[in-house]
């Protein structure tokens, strides 16, 4: 039971609890907060795996931008406690077992394939951000540019969606 393991279990517990509370909380804001907890915990796990840059980006983008957007929208729409309608019978009785089955399948698949994964060389060394940058801007440069284009499209789409018809966008 060495230090990293303890940290791992703490963070994992954080993540799982956060996810569960995301399910259980009835108010969107609380769900959002629990999701933020999950994200922070995951960032911690990334740090534990030596992926510093990814960890930082995880918090900056997910925590600092995306989730803020969510909170913002929730506040903007003043979304209240969600109403528990039960129109979908299917989801009602088949949802949980199926989801658990999926979880089980995934876990089993992972467990099956772990031996092969374990065979791989494990180095706890922290991934140098420079190397990451090199990979990103040389080998994966075209996908990278594509993502930039994607973002542009997303911006335009968001603007078009959010503006009201025949009315200038409110500041």
């Amino acid at each position: 039971m060495n230090a990293p393991l303890i940290i791992f279990f703490v963070l994992a517990a954080m993540a799982i609890l956060g996810a569960i509370s995301l399910i259980l909380q009835s108010h969107p804001i609380h769900s959002a907060l629990s999701l933020i907890v999950v994200m922070v915990a995951l960032a911690g796990l990334y740090l534990l795996m030596g992926a510093e840059f990814v960890a930082a980006v995880q918090i900056i983008v997910y925590g600092g931008a995306i989730m803020v957007l969510f909170v913002f929208v929730i506040m903007l729409l003043n979304a209240g406690v969600e109403e528990r309608t039960n129109v979908s019978k299917l989801a009602g009785w088949a949802g949980l077992p199926l989801a658990i089955a999926l979880m089980g399948f995934l876990a089993a698949a992972v467990a099956r394939s772990t031996d092969r994964v374990q065979a791989a060389a494990q180095t706890g060394a922290t991934a140098p951000t420079k190397a990451l940058a090199g990979l990103l801007f040389q080998e994966f440069v075209y996908p990278f540019e594509l993502t930039s284009f994607l973002i542009l499209v997303a911006i335009i789409g968001a603007i078009v969606l959010a503006q009201r018809e025949k009315e200038k966008i409110r500041p």
Partner: protein, 659 residues
């Protein structure tokens, strides 16, 4: 060799004319349409002349002159190219088709002047010229077949030119369908030939065929069968027994059409094909014999029918049929050059006859029944004179064209071994009948007292544009036969000489020995023929000028014969009963109401209904509820994972997933 290298220009010009008239002509005044139509055909006539001039300068070893322009169909070993060929036979046909065709175009400008659909008529006519030229210039059976079908199409279009008239439309359909039967045989023949020789180009095929051993009489080898199949096609196109029935009805078309297509050019295509593939026919005496017999039978058969018809065009139609019979008779006895010779002369005088008849009809204001004419000779002198010339020509009076061609046919029939005498006799009888009904036509039409009422019909001579072609044709039908004239005083038969290189290969008919014999026989036979013609003239004169009442009495006295003849031996009825009725029953009851409606439509509708019901049932899954959709997605994911990781056969895939 400007033209010989670009032979395609000759058929192309009429095609252009047709396209221009057909696409743009509807808005144009008749004048422009005339320029286009007549101009294009005239140009192609000039080109043909130029081609012939250049052809005459070719050294014999370069004949036949074949030009391959582009490869049209290439499938396996079959290569059907757009190849044009020209040799002596082609030259004759070329001149006849373009020349006569041009004249008839000119004639039509006058005859059709008051018809609606003027541009349409000329567009069709030019199209016909195009296909006819393709037919005669083709260097292989496939291209020839294109022309063959094309002319069939045009004939259909032109017979049904007055498509509002039911009889016309029906006649067009009839012609088309009957021709299909022939074409079926023709195609089978082509397939067989391809299977046998591995090619459909004339030159190599005949080169291969020539050395082959000829089938013995009565033996049915490949060549015999192929020849018979081709001949079936020929009977269809050239209106021989038993497929002649469409031609009389084809008279529903405008008269120039009858003249051009159903007298001068198209109907002779059968003869042309037989002559073109004479090499094959020479190899199967039995096929030859059958051709001869069929031709002979048709000749006498049609002639007898022609005796009693009262519609002026019908008479001419049956005479055409019988004359075609003559040509096949000639081919059958191996006198191909004679057959082609008669083809040419016949083209002249029969076209002339039709045009003249057209002129008469024009004068009578659309009346075609001879019994309602008479005494026109003074009113329409030029028409009368040209008509008379043509009649003399076809009846075989020397020194007109018909005399020589018919004479040479009878001669070769007489000479031919296996049953020559009988053929000769029947041919002679036919000649007698021919001269009789032709003069009957002339007398009924131009002599005697007027049997029409002056008040309604005011007879008038036709315009120049109609008369000039008549005269030209008249001259031609006088001098057309003189090429063969020298034979009588020991000179050579120039026409035969000219065609000799074509028909010489594969054992030509006119060997020198036969020629020597021919010399001896020529004069007496000629005398016999002339006597026959005179006899026919005499009978006609006696019956229709001396005692005009007589024919009616005769008709009464031998009623059975008369009615039989008048109803054309009930052949149409017979066909209707034997072929048409069962076909109709089959197609309506079985094919339409059972197969189509119940099986095919049933299947289609059933599928449609099934789809609809399936959709009705499935669409309940489309609940519009995101959560249900999510559940479905989850199920899909589970299945995929299960397959990838836990399906034994997908191991490698799983490894691929993990790595």
């Amino acid at each position: 060799m400007p033209i010989l290298n670009t032979l395609w220009i000759i058929p192309l010009l009429p095609l252009l004319g047709s396209a221009i008239n057909g696409l743009l002509g509807s808005k144009w005044p008749n004048k422009i349409v005339n320029y286009v139509a007549v101009g294009s055909t005239g140009l192609s006539f000039l080109c043909a002349l130029e081609a012939v001039r250049e052809f005459s300068q070719l050294s014999p070893d370069r004949i036949p002159w074949v030009k391959q322009y582009f490869s049209w169909i290439a499938a396996g070993t079959l290569r059907a190219g757009f190849d044009l060929q020209i040799d002596q036979l082609t030259v004759v046909m070329l001149l006849v088709v373009t020349g006569v065709g041009w004249l008839i175009h000119i004639y039509s400008t006058g005859y059709m002047a008051h018809e609606s659909g003027y541009y349409r008529f000329f567009s069709y006519l030019n199209l016909f010229m195009f296909f006819m030229l393709i037919l005669i210039l083709a260097a292989n059976y496939v291209l020839l077949f294109v022309g063959w079908e094309g002319v069939g199409l045009c004939s259909y279009l032109l017979i049904g030119f007055y498509f509002l008239k039911k009889s016309a439309a029906d006649a067009g359909k009839k012609a088309f369908i009957v021709n299909r039967i022939g074409d079926f045989g023709f195609m089978l023949g082509m397939f067989l030939l391809f299977k046998t020789f591995g090619t459909l180009d004339f030159v190599p095929m005949f080169a291969k065929a020539a050395p082959m051993p000829a089938d013995a009489m009565g033996q049915y080898g490949t060549l015999t069968v192929a020849c018979l199949l081709l001949f079936v096609g020929a009977t269809g196109k050239s209106a021989q027994l038993p497929l002649y029935v469409w031609l009389p009805d084809a008279m529903e078309g405008p008269t120039p059409v009858s003249a051009l297509i159903h007298a001068a050019t198209m109907v002779t295509a059968g003869v042309y094909v037989v002559a073109r593939s004479h090499v094959l026919f020479m190899h199967s005496p039995s096929a030859m014999l059958i051709v001869a017999i069929v031709g002979c039978a048709t000749a006498i058969f049609a002639a007898t029918i022609g005796l009693v018809q009262t519609d002026i065009k019908k008479v001419l139609a049956y005479s055409t049929v019988s004359q075609l019979g003559y040509m096949f008779l000639a081919c059958g006895v191996g006198a191909f050059s004679a057959g082609i010779f008669h083809l040419m002369t016949h083209a002249f005088f029969k076209a002339l006859l039709f045009l003249a008849a057209g002129s008469v009809i024009h004068a009578m204001g659309g009346e075609q029944d001879m019994l309602k004419m008479g005494g026109l000779s003074k009113k329409i002198k030029w028409t009368y004179m040209t008509m008379l010339t043509a009649t003399l020509a076809i009846a075989g009076f020397p020194p007109l064209a018909g005399f020589f061609s018919k004479d040479s046919i009878l001669l070769s029939a007489f000479q031919s071994e296996n049953g020559g005498r009988i053929l000769y006799a029947i041919g002679l009888l036919t000649a007698l009948l021919t001269s009789f009904y032709m003069f009957r036509l002339v007398f009924l039409t131009f002599f005697g007292k007027e049997r029409y009422d002056e008040h309604h019909v005011h007879v008038h001579e036709s315009p120049k544009s109609m008369l000039v072609p008549l005269m030209i044709l008249a001259v031609l039908s006088i001098v057309g036969g003189w090429l063969a004239a020298p034979a009588f005083w020991g000179g050579p038969d120039y026409f035969a000489k000219f065609l000799e290189p074509v028909f010489a290969q594969g054992g030509g008919a006119e060997s020198s020995a036969a020629e020597a014999a021919a010399r001896a026989l020529e004069i007496p036979l000629a005398i016999v023929a002339v006597v026959t013609a005179l006899l026919g003239f005499g009978i006609a004169f006696w019956l229709y000028i001396r005692q005009p009442g007589k024919p009616a009495e005769l008709a009464k006295s031998m009623k059975g014969v008369y009615t039989t003849l008048f109803n054309k031996y009930y052949v149409d009825e017979l066909y209707a009963a034997v072929v048409v009725k069962p076909l109709l029953w089959l197609s309506t009851k079985v094919l339409w109401q059972t197969v189509d409606v119940q099986i095919i439509d049933g299947a289609v509708n059933g599928i449609a209904r099934g789809t609809t019901e399936a959709g009705d049932n499935v669409r309940h899954a489309q609940s519009g509820n995101t959560r249900s959709y999510a559940v479905w997605v989850v199920i899909g994911a589970i299945v995929i994972i299960a397959i990838i990781f836990f399906w034994p056969y997908a191991k490698p895939a799983a490894i691929g997933m993990v790595h």
